[in-house]
């Protein structure tokens, strides 16, 4: 059996993802439609443009629908774990990957919060090593704070310079 890591993101992240997908899709659609209007207004509109924009729109819709369908999958298999030695991030079920980052390689930690995350009282954590960056898509603010302190404490204990 495939071993999953212990920690999952809060359930509310699904709502954030859904909103993000909707917003991206609508921005793209609005873009395509307004391009169409501009072309029409400039008298450039013809059948080729029609085919291009219809296929564009349908690609976007397909992508959106697949993304929406995959949200539970994404949620279930997006996991992480923090031990005293390292952080682990896991992704995917069909194509599986796990990344391990030793605590003493962490250079700095960044947090970010967009409007959707703020609404759900969540925060994104970005962990930087000298060479790589890793994300935890959304955590409770208190949890993130706690995690940050925990990591910083651990980093202080074991510091190895680049």
């Amino acid at each position: 059996m495939y071993v999953l890591l212990s920690k999952q993101l809060p359930l509310r992240i699904k709502r954030v993802w859904r909103k993000t997908i909707f917003v991206t899709t609508s921005i793209l659609l609005v873009g395509i439609v307004s391009c169409g209007f501009i072309l029409n207004w400039l008298d450039f509109w013809n059948n080729y443009w029609l085919i291009a924009s219809v296929s564009g729109v349908s690609l976007i819709m397909i992508h959106t629908i697949i993304s929406l369908i995959l949200i539970p999958y994404r949620y279930t298999f997006n996991r992480y774990e923090i031990t005293n030695e390292d952080l682990a991030f896991q992704k995917g079920y069909f194509f599986r990957s796990t990344t391990f980052v030793p605590i003493n390689r962490i250079q700095h930690i960044e947090t970010e919060q967009g409007p959707f995350l703020r609404k759900e009282n969540l925060i994104e954590l970005r962990i930087h090593t000298a060479a790589t960056t890793h994300h935890i898509a959304g955590l409770d603010i208190e949890e993130a704070q706690e995690l940050r302190n925990q990591i910083i404490a651990l980093v202080k204990v074991a510091k190895e310079d680049v």
Binding site: Y2, F94, R96, T98, V101, P102, R105, A131, T132
Partner: protein, 461 residues
Amino acid sequence: MSKKQRYHPLSWIIEFFQQLKNFVVPIILALVGWREVSLIYLSIGLFVLISGVASLQYATRYYQLTTDSLIVYTGVLNKKETVIPYERIQTLKQQQWFFFKPFHVVRITIETAGGSSTEAEAILTAVPETVVQQLEELRHQQREARKINVYEVTTSQILVFSLTNLSIFATFFAILAFVDQIIPASWSTWLLTVGEQFLQAGWLMLLLVGCSVLLLVSALSIIRHMIFYYRFRVTRQPETLTLERGLLERKTQKIPLTKIQGLQINQQVLRKLFGLVSVELLLASGQEEDDELKQVFLLPIVHEKEVSQVLRTLLPEWQFPNAELHYTSRNKTWYFLRIPLMILIPIIVGVFFIRPWLSIIGLLLFISWLLIEMVTSYYQGYVIINQQLCIQQYFFFTKIQTFVKRAKIQALYEETSKWLYLKEIYHVRLFIKANTSAASLRLRYIDKEDLSKIKAFYQKK
């Protein structure tokens, strides 16, 4: 280090006997000549004289252990200082008279390579036993600290380096493009007619022209590399590596050893024929950006057989295994081939129906892709020695061996799929900080056993 010190008082006795020996002739003369003085007075007088001299000697002789050298002071009126740097000390002899033993005192004789006399450079007549130990340590430290190894690339090596550089061909094509862009149309039509004439003159002429262009390009490449790498020199100091190079402008780069993220031994296909490799340093960015060459060569070109020897002298703290690699995927060639096959067969078949001749080009590309994958599956491997990992990969037709210290690996990424998981096959990727090839440490389709070995190496405290 220590202050100027007198010898142990016991040295006075040694000094006394020494002086007695020096006074042998006068003593005998006195005994023969001065019959009228009584023997007792004579011996008392001599004793006073000799002990006086001995005391004077004792009072004016010092030694001192400084941080980098031993200093011996002698002379009553004519003061003399002998400075012996520790690393110059050849031999240290110690002697201990029976009467020294209870006081834990020894006599130390120090010899250096210099000095034609048979006499020792310095004699510490009576010093505590601990001084021997101290001297040994200081000498050892100095030797370690001052150990400097230099490696210089010869001009003929740079020549071979520039000729085997595959970027020659890139330059060649760049020149062609340049010619095409710059030269006016009338010229190129003229060139074309000349070309036609050449064609009429036959293949020989065409070959001649091609060869001369290639020669020109090689000459350019040689000049360029000569300017860059002229008298390329690596100097190893205790904490840094210094690279010097350049003909017109001498460039010096000091690299602290702790900043070396990894080391790469590269061998591309053309150099394999000559048995040559080049060694690159992987450095975290922030090192001075080199205008044209992003790569930092430790050894631009070196013979395969010499490389580990040279590297051992320059970087003794690294291990360079020669042929102890564990090859991971020799029995998994099929896995390497299946994706290219899956992608390319439909494309080639499809293209064949549209443009048959195009599919031949496709077939050639396809075969070279398969070849690369096969070579990769055959030669990719790794070896772990102490705190260090070596990974061998193939990138196109270049063999790359990367050496990394455990402490410099930033993250480990393992990858599998639902189906490969059942067969216990994984990919692994290690990230180190390096501006050119950050994510190049990659092994594909390896057994779980190898993955766990690499993980264990990486995660152990």
